[in-house]
Structure formats: structure tokens, C-alpha cells
């Protein structure tokens, strides 16, 4: 029999969900208007006041919030509660101009953890389970989210954080981990290692909850067939609290959005008009419950489809399909957001030309990123050691900017194709 973490809410009739969303939206808009001058100004700019918003049918009247707005508001501009009520921040990775800081009250954290708990229960998790969390801990939301969710479920939590594969496998074997939570690429690596080290008979995994980066059905089947467990997708973004915005159930056919907390829309990224369910477009979320950081109509740039057909698991919350891509130039590599403009900034800073090419690929289920960089007179030398030293400095600067290791390839000047108009800067060979 299907189990739920919060049955009443997760199986609430759709009409009631919509009613709940309408009530919460009205309150949330008022909250943002009263406490976030930046958002109030945005509303005033389009001549909308909280009185104009009487329910979700009025959502389209509200202005969007974009990542640029968040950057503009960094760090405290979007904060809607006094600091004394704020108990935590989490942040996106990297040391970039695109950094996003998300604030939480204790209630915000409880809701976030409950959302993750719903995902764990949907994956079959109970208080009997041993949940090994090998998402990164720290500012990254992955570790904290699944950790909190596992606590709420009452499972035994292994706060492993990422890396140290030897230790991961040792604990997995010794403590008989039943649920694994990490990025899909790390899960694929662990799967490979389990096979290579002959540990298949010694592990007891029944489910995996994998998110923070896009992954394919092929990857899912590979892992499931090899280890004999079920691999579930989970979605979220730091701006909305982290993982647990939506999650897969046993159907493994779309992720149920926690609609009591997140109001989803699909828009045409060009006209910004709302699109009907079942149409591909840009996903937009309104956080209905977040009190410290109330994002309204936040443009995720993720392109996907919404499905409101009933699901056999009994959950009534709408499902979102796998992400089809991005409506901007952002790449997600190894779970990290990468903007070509960040790479460009580093290249120019280090005396290289802004003519470059990024090649993203996936080898053995793990993302790779290579950057072709043209040699310049400033960086050229008769001494190979000098060239190598500068190349190493460039790699280090890219690592500092992006938080991931980038492979640099020096090529001859003007050897990278110049195209008319918009240059082809990014070649993504991954098949997701």
C-alpha cells in the first residue's frame, strides 16, 4: 500500500489544492509588498497592488523575479523578515557574481525538510531505513535538505557529505545502507565501484534519491539493473530552498511538485505568456510558504512540461517532466551552474581572448568540461615552463570561479571559428 509522509496534503483533491494556493498566494503577495521594497517597486511599476490579487487566477498580473533581480538584491534586498527571525542561510556554489543566498526562518527549514521527507517516503523510506547522504554538506542545499528530510522521517542518517569513496563504500557495507542520496553522477560512480570491488552481494540498497543535475533514463536503468534497487529523481533549487520542490513516486514518471508550498506555471520565455499544462516552456515558481525569502513568479530558466493527470500513487499534486534544457545559456555541469560569461571573465582577466569554446560531455556518467583557449602574444613565451605556469594559473582561476575543475586546451590564435552574429561558444555533447 502506498505510504505518504503527509497523506492529507499529498492526496488533497485538486480543487482544494487550488483553493489553498489561492489563499496562500494572496497572503504571500501582501507579505512581499509590506516587507520587500524591491518587489513592491516592481509591482508598482506594472500598476499592481495586493488588492488586485484575489487568487491564483490573478497570478499573471504579477511581475517576474529573475536571477538578475536576486543579484541586484544581494545579499539582503529580498529578505522579508527581520534578521532575528532568520536562523540559516544556504547558498549556490562558487564565488561568482551570480551567487544566490537563500534565507530561512525555522518554519521555512521545517517545511523544506518536510518536503524532502515526502520524497524519501515516496521512495519507500521509513524509520527503519539507513539513509546515506553523500550530497555535499555546507552551503550547498543538497546535504542539509536530505539530511533534514531523513531526520523528519525518523530514519538513521549517515551524514557522509561528498567524496571519499572508500569510506562511503565501507559505511554502505558495514551499516547496511538502504537509501542512498547523492547526485546521479556520483551514484553512477559508486555503482561502478561496487561492481569493480565485488561488493554487489554485500550492499543492501533498496532506493536512491538522486538530484541536483539532469540525468537520463538510460543512466537510471543502468544503475537499477546493476544494483537491483530503484532510483528516484528529486528536483529543487537553492532560491526555493533546495531539493524537495518536486520528487518522483514509484511511477517514476514525472516529479510531483509540492503544490501546497510551490505554485508552478509554464510560460513562453519570449512572450512571457502563461502556457497550458502539457506544453513545453519555462518553469516559473511562486514560493507560497517561504517567509524569509518570498519569491513570487521566479523564472527558473528550466524548460519542462507540467502534467496534471491523476497518478496511480494517489498523490494529487501536479507532476513536472524531466528538464529539457535551459532558456538561457546556463550549463549545469557536475551539478554546478556554469555560465559561459563566467569563463569569459576569467579568460580576459588572464590575458586570453574572449574567443573560446566550451565542450561539455559525459563520460561514464560523469560530466566533463573542456575549454579551448587561443594562445595570445601576452601569454606566449619561448619557455614551455612559463606557458605551463600560466596555463595552471588559468585552470586555478577557473576552478575558483566555477567551483569545478575545467580542462584547458591551448590552441593556435584565430583557430577557433568566428561565426557571424552569435558565436557558438558551447558544444554540449551530453545526451540526457
Amino acid at each position: 500500500m502506498e505510504r505518504y509522509y503527509q497523506k492529507e496534503i499529498e492526496t488533497m483533491p485538486r480543487e482544494e489544492i487550488k483553493k489553498l494556493q489561492s489563499e496562500k498566494l494572496v497572503k504571500q503577495v501582501k507579505h512581499a509588498w509590506d516587507n520587500v521594497p524591491y518587489y513592491r517597486a516592481k509591482m508598482e511599476a506594472v500598476n499592481v497592488t495586493p488588492d488586485d490579487i484575489r487568487g491564483i487566477e490573478d497570478l499573471h498580473k504579477l511581475p517576474f523575479i529573475t536571477k538578475d533581480d536576486l543579484r541586484e538584491c544581494y545579499p539582503y534586498g529580498m529578505l522579508a523578515r527581520p534578521l532575528k527571525d532568520v536562523v540559516r542561510i544556504q547558498s549556490t556554489s562558487g564565488t561568482t557574481g551570480r551567487r544566490v543566498v537563500k534565507f530561512y526562518t525555522q518554519d521555512d527549514i521545517d517545511i523544506w525538510e518536510e518536503n524532502c521527507a515526502r520524497a524519501i517516503v515516496a521512495a519507500g523510506g521509513t524509520e527503519e531505513d539507513v539513509v546515506q547522504v553523500c550530497y555535499g554538506y555546507g552551503l550547498f542545499t543538497g546535504g542539509a535538505g536530505l539530511h533534514g528530510g531523513a531526520h523528519k522521517v525518523g530514519a538513521m542518517t549517515l551524514p557522509m557529505s561528498s567524496g571519499n569513496t572508500d569510506r562511503q563504500l565501507q559505511f554502505m557495507e558495514d551499516l547496511q545502507t538502504t537509501i542512498l542520496a547523492c547526485t546521479p553522477s556520483y551514484a553512477a560512480y559508486l555503482t561502478e565501484q561496487i561492481v569493480e570491488r565485488g561488493l554487489k552481494d554485500k550492499i543492501h540498497l533498496k532506493a536512491g534519491i538522486f538530484g541536483a543535475e539532469a540525468w537520463s533514463e538510460e543512466m537510471r536503468h543502468d544503475m537499477e539493473d546493476t544494483l537491483g534497487f530503484k532510483a528516484y529523481d528529486i528536483y529543487g533549487l537553492t532560491e526555493l530552498g533546495g531539493p524537495g520542490v518536486s520528487f518522483e513516486c514509484k511511477e517514476q514518471n514525472g516529479m510531483h511538485i509540492n503544490e501546497d508550498h510551490f505554485l508552478a506555471e509554464i510560460i513562453d520565455p519570449n512572450t512571457l505568456e502563461q502556457l497550458p499544462n502539457g506544453t513545453y516552456g519555462e518553469l516559473v515558481f511562486t514560493a507560497l510558504s517561504d517567509s524569509a525569502f518570498p519569491l513570487i513568479r521566479y523564472r527558473t530558466r528550466d524548460v519542462c512540461i507540467l502534467n496534471d493527470e491523476p497518478c496511480s500513487c494517489g498523490r494529487t499534486h501536479i507532476r513536472m517532466g524531466k528538464l529539457k534544457g535551459r532558456s538561457d545559456d546556463m550549463l549545469i555541469v557536475k551539478g554546478v551552474n556554469v555560465f559561459p560569461s563566467q569563463i569569459e571573465t576569467v579568460l580576459i582577466d588572464k590575458g586570453y581572448k574572449a574567443n573560446y569554446q566550451i565542450v561539455v560531455d559525459r563520460q561514464k556518467h560523469s560530466d566533463t568540461i573542456d575549454v579551448m583557449v587561443e594562445m595570445t602574444p601576452e601569454n606566449f613565451s619561448d619557455n614551455l615552463g612559463e606557458i605551463e605556469k600560466k596555463e595552471k594559473e588559468l585552470v586555478a582561476a577557473l576552478k575558483a570561479m566555477l567551483g569545478i575543475l575545467v580542462k584547458v586546451h591551448l590552441v593556435a590564435p584565430k583557430s577557433i571559428e568566428r561565426s557571424e552574429g552569435k558565436a557558438v561558444r558551447v558544444i554540449d555533447k551530453r545526451k540526457i
Binding site: P377, D382, I387, E388, L410, A412
Partner: protein, 133 residues
């Protein structure tokens, strides 16, 4: 003798070196020596040509990363110990050689070596003091 050497950046792919020699050929520039240094990812071609100034300009105009470097060309007697005599002098003077390679000369019985050190003038003077040119 202090001379100018051309250094050109080489991408690690088939045909790259031939593109450089084709340019020099098209401009009727004779090479006296060429030496390749390589890493896993790229390389450097070091060339002594009859008109280095002109050659480097041609290559730059064609989009190659190219530059001139001062090196010292020394005649080495074509006999056992010929090079050793010279290296002993350089070693005794505490001069660090970054790299060296041979150069085609026109005089019989003498081999030429190209030496790259931090200070070409210092090397030239050290050897000239010992009667080596």
C-alpha cells in the same frame, strides 16, 4: 654570435608544422635550424632563419603566435671533446642553459650549436673571453 630565433606556438594536430613551413616557403625564407619542444597538449617550434625579423612578421600576420628570442650560436670543433670543452667553460661560469640544439653551418669541420640562456650577452662574452665564437 648572438642571433635571433623565432619561436612559434604549435597546436597538437596533424599538419600544424607544415602550415608554418609553407608560409616560410611561400616567402622564400631559408631555415638554418629547427627544433621542436613538446608537451602532451601543444608544442613550440624554434627556428633559425636567414631573415628572422621578416619571418616572424610573416608568421604573426598569418595569425600564428610567434616571437623572437636572443640565442647564441657557437662553432663547435668537429672532434671528440669539442662540445665538452665549451660546456665546461659555461658550467664553470655558472651559466644555466635552458635548451640547445644544432645548427647547419657552411664551414667544414665545424658544427654549430644554438644555446639559450637567460642572458645571451653574458654567455657570448664568457666564451669570447676564451676565444670561442
Amino acid at each position: 654570435m648572438k642571433i635571433s630565433q623565432i619561436t612559434v606556438f604549435l597546436e597538437n594536430r596533424a599538419g600544424q608544422l607544415a602550415e608554418i613551413t609553407a608560409e616560410l616557403d611561400a616567402n622564400n625564407i631559408n631555415m638554418r635550424a629547427i627544433n621542436i619542444a613538446e608537451t602532451a597538449e601543444y608544442g613550440l617550434a624554434r627556428i633559425i632563419a636567414e631573415d628572422s625579423e621578416k619571418a616572424v612578421q610573416i608568421l604573426k600576420d598569418k595569425g600564428f603566435a610567434a616571437m623572437l628570442t636572443d640565442v647564441v650560436a657557437i662553432g663547435v670543433p668537429h672532434r671528440a671533446g669539442g662540445l665538452n670543452d665549451i660546456l665546461q667553460i659555461i658550467a664553470a661560469a655558472g651559466i644555466d642553459i635552458e635548451y640547445m640544439y644544432s645548427l647547419i653551418g657552411e664551414q667544414d669541420g665545424i658544427a654549430y650549436m644554438v644555446f639559450r640562456t637567460k642572458d645571451a650577452d653574458a654567455l657570448q662574452k664568457e666564451l669570447a673571453d676564451k676565444g670561442i665564437f
